[in-house]
């Protein structure tokens, strides 16, 4: 899990720029996350420490990802996106920033990235998926709060996330108590604004939220010193709709048996969706889907039809949090769906593209965002229905509910998901965990027993 450990001496970074993508992906041995120490120094990062983290990410990725068999060829692009996660993509963002366009960091699918894209900027999901940055956070934050919030704060405090170092500002939100109070502390390190997310879905909540969207738009416009036009917004809505459609297509293809792609690979693509350039990303996902369609027609899969098909539902998994997927697939299952903010909750809904006037466009945008069934809402019964719907459409054989430690809203909503599974006779396992590896043995036992239960 990207353990950013102790400060180590500067490691000379050997980057073979002549390595082609194919060669790069041939085996886990020659995979590496590329180093850009000069650029990192310019970004005021803790270069020696970060370089160690980069090497470890490369090693973990090589072991967990490149050792998989029957991977689709078109995964090469996404392997390369991991290889360039701390370099190539940052360079692209810095190019955009040079032109005066906004670079906005976020932590939630509730921040309307369409507005940032309309301003010609980049909206990026920030680092928060690793245990390595948590000690930095625990120097100031309480220990018993969500690991994702701690990890995110620690990445900024330790200067070990190039994305954090690149953004003009962070736009946080109020989806949980840990986040909304951490933003006040984070603001000391990087300008942090907060969008108020309503907790219910009444007309007055919608009215509040649309005002918040307008504030967000004003803040984005302030950076680029230019008003976002309805033409720009229409274009951005199409771009992000296309990205979401590509991810919907990928999800639909995973319903095939045998599964044409591993859950780990699909999760990785969903994670990359939060930092890649959206037009290129959609193209590459569609190209992969073309390959997967061929596989489905030919009846080819990454694993045999006998592998138990598992849907994962619950809290998000920020890169490089691959813990649960890795445990499941190492135990012989295949993950076929992620009902979470990293998965379908991010892309299941689209914005109406027919509107041409700003107020109507923002209305359409609000309609789309108010459909997000985050557990921060009460009541949120539409999520229970959505889980069942996705269970059926993904042709899963069991549901694993994943909740981060101290995530009260998902942990409590889990009761309703469990009751629904009992009523429908769906094999079900609930797991609450954090980013640390210390419970892997027990999780492995529970996951293997769950798979034994499904296999009968």
């Amino acid at each position: 899990m990207l353990p950013v450990v102790a400060v180590v001496p500067v490691v000379a970074a050997v980057v073979d720029v002549n390595l082609t993508q194919e060669e790069n992906n041939m085996s886990s041995k020659n995979f590496e996350v590329k180093a850009y120490p000069e650029m990192w120094a310019e970004l005021d990062m803790d270069v020696p420490r970060f370089d160690k983290a980069r090497q470890m990410l490369g090693e973990v990725y090589g072991k967990m990802y490149l050792s998989q068999v029957n991977r689709p060829e078109k995964m090469a692009y996404f392997d390369n996106m991991v290889s360039e996660i701390f370099g190539g993509r940052i360079k692209e963002m810095l190019e955009v920033k040079k032109t005066g366009k906004p670079i906005v960091g976020t932590f939630c699918v509730y921040i309307p990235e369409e507005i940032v894209v309309a301003a010609g900027g980049v909206c990026v999901g920030l680092c928060g998926g690793s245990a390595g940055s948590i000690p930095d956070a625990e120097k100031i934050l309480p220990r018993n709060i969500c690991p994702m919030v701690k990890s995110a704060y620690g990445f900024k405090a330790g200067r070990i996330c190039p994305y954090f170092q690149t953004v003009d500002f962070v736009y946080g939100e109020t989806t949980c108590d840990a986040k909304k109070k951490t933003w006040e502390i984070l603001d000391r390190l990087v300008p942090t604004y907060v969008m108020e997310i309503p907790q219910m879905k009444k007309a007055r909540d919608r009215a509040l939220w649309i005002e918040e969207v307008k504030d967000f738009k004003a803040k984005v416009e302030e950076v680029c010193n230019k008003e976002v036009s309805s033409f720009d917004l229409a274009g951005a809505i199409k771009v992000i709709n296309n990205k979401r459609k590509a991810l919907q297509r990928l999800t639909a293809l995973r319903a095939a048996s045998p599964a044409p792609i591993s859950g780990k690979d699909a999760l990785l693509i969903e994670q990359i969706a939060f930092y890649d350039e959206p037009v290129r990303f959609a193209e590459k996902v569609n190209a992969l889907c073309d390959e997967l369609e061929e596989r489905v027609v030919a009846g080819e899969g990454v694993i045999g039809v006998e592998a138990p098909r598992i849907m994962v539902s619950g809290t998000p998994m920020a890169l490089p949090n691959w813990k649960i997927h890795n445990l499941l697939e190492t135990a012989g299952a295949v993950v076929v769906n992620e009902e979470s903010c990293i998965g379908t909750r991010y892309f299941k809904d689209l914005i109406d593209e027919q509107q041409t006037e700003m107020d109507r466009q923002l209305d359409a945008l609000t309609d789309r965002y108010m459909q997000i069934d985050c557990s921060c809402f009460t009541p949120n019964d539409e999520r229970v229905e959505q889980v069942l719907k996705e269970y059926r459409s993904s042709k899963a054989q069991g549901i694993l509910h994943y909740s981060l430690q101290f995530c009260h809203t998902y942990n409590i909503e889990e009761i309703k998901i469990r009751e629904m599974c009992e009523k429908e006779g769906i094999p079900y396992l609930s797991i609450e965990t954090d980013y640390s590896p210390e419970d892997v043995g027990q999780l492995q036992t529970r996951i293997e027993a769950f798979l034994e239960q499904i296999r009968g």
């Binding site: 609450e432 043995g441 027990q442 036992t445 529970r446 293997e448 027993a449 034994e452």
Partner: protein, 248 residues
């Protein structure tokens, strides 16, 4: 020969069946070299199909076991062998506590396991016994001498130990504190059983089933069920694994 080996966090157990009859059983401490220990136990048999379970099952599979099954499945198979009608199993081992629900056909339909801490496990009792100056095998009997209802609120082993120390320093009798420790384990277990529901027979397996106080308290609190403890509760997992070897 069909051999089941259960590599637990505290002990390693082996059960060997020939033609459906238990012909041998062994139990040793896991120690610092569970692989070496396991090899010594297995070396006793000339040939046979070996199925491993327990925390070290994958280690066994790397070296000598033909197949692995989880402790949950192993305890289900082992308990059903002795009690063919049972629907509920409670297993408390060194590091885990589990409640397993079986369908009519004996298949696992649901299970619950403690989270990553040692709360409510054999290890918890071991640490508390040491803190109160008892040997583990006398801890339960000592607690049974008390009729007090001392509450240990913390289920975290570390915090519970501080709580126990402060009780000692308030001058509470050790047998009463010992009873409190046992009660806290059983209350947690009963909570798990109530959440999952349980059948008329509750089979109690794992090393902690040797503790008479836990058994008594569990019987008292489960009014609707009979608590049944096999004569060798630690061996249920290993026997389940051996029975699996015989079936498959």
């Amino acid at each position: 020969m069909h051999i089941g080996i259960d590599l637990g966090s505290r002990t390693i157990k082996v059960a060997a069946f020939r033609d459906g009859v238990l012909v041998d059983q062994q139990l040793v401490e896991s120690g610092f070299d569970p692989y070496g220990q396991a090899m010594a136990l297995i070396g006793k048999y000339d040939s046979g199909r070996i199925v491993a379970t327990g925390y070290g099952r994958h280690l066994a599979a790397e070296h000598f076991a033909h197949e692995v099954i989880t402790e949950i499945k192993a305890h289900a198979l082992g308990a059903r062998h002795f009690y063919p009608e049972c629907r509920t199993i409670v297993d408390i081992g060194g590091q885990d506590s589990k409640v397993i629900s079986l369908g009519e056909n004996g298949r696992v339909v649901n299970f619950q396991m403690n989270d990553k801490c040692a709360a409510g496990t054999g290890r918890f009792l071991e640490i508390m016994a040491a803190s109160l100056g008892f040997r583990l095998d006398e801890f339960g009997a000592a607690a049974l001498e008390s009729s007090a209802e001392v509450g240990i609120n913390s289920m975290c082993t570390v915090f519970a130990e501080s709580e126990v120390i402060s009780m000692k320093n308030r001058g509470l009798p050790v047998k009463d504190i010992a009873m409190g420790v046992h009660l806290s384990v059983v209350n947690r277990l009963v909570g798990m059983l109530n959440r999952m529901g349980y059948g008329e027979q509750v089979i109690f397996s794992g090393g902690v089933a040797r503790n008479p106080c836990i058994v008594r308290l569990l019987e008292d609190r489960l009014e609707k069920a009979t608590v049944l403890t096999p004569s060798e509760p630690d061996l249920v997992g290993a026997m389940g694994a051996a029975l699996y070897a015989a079936e498959n």
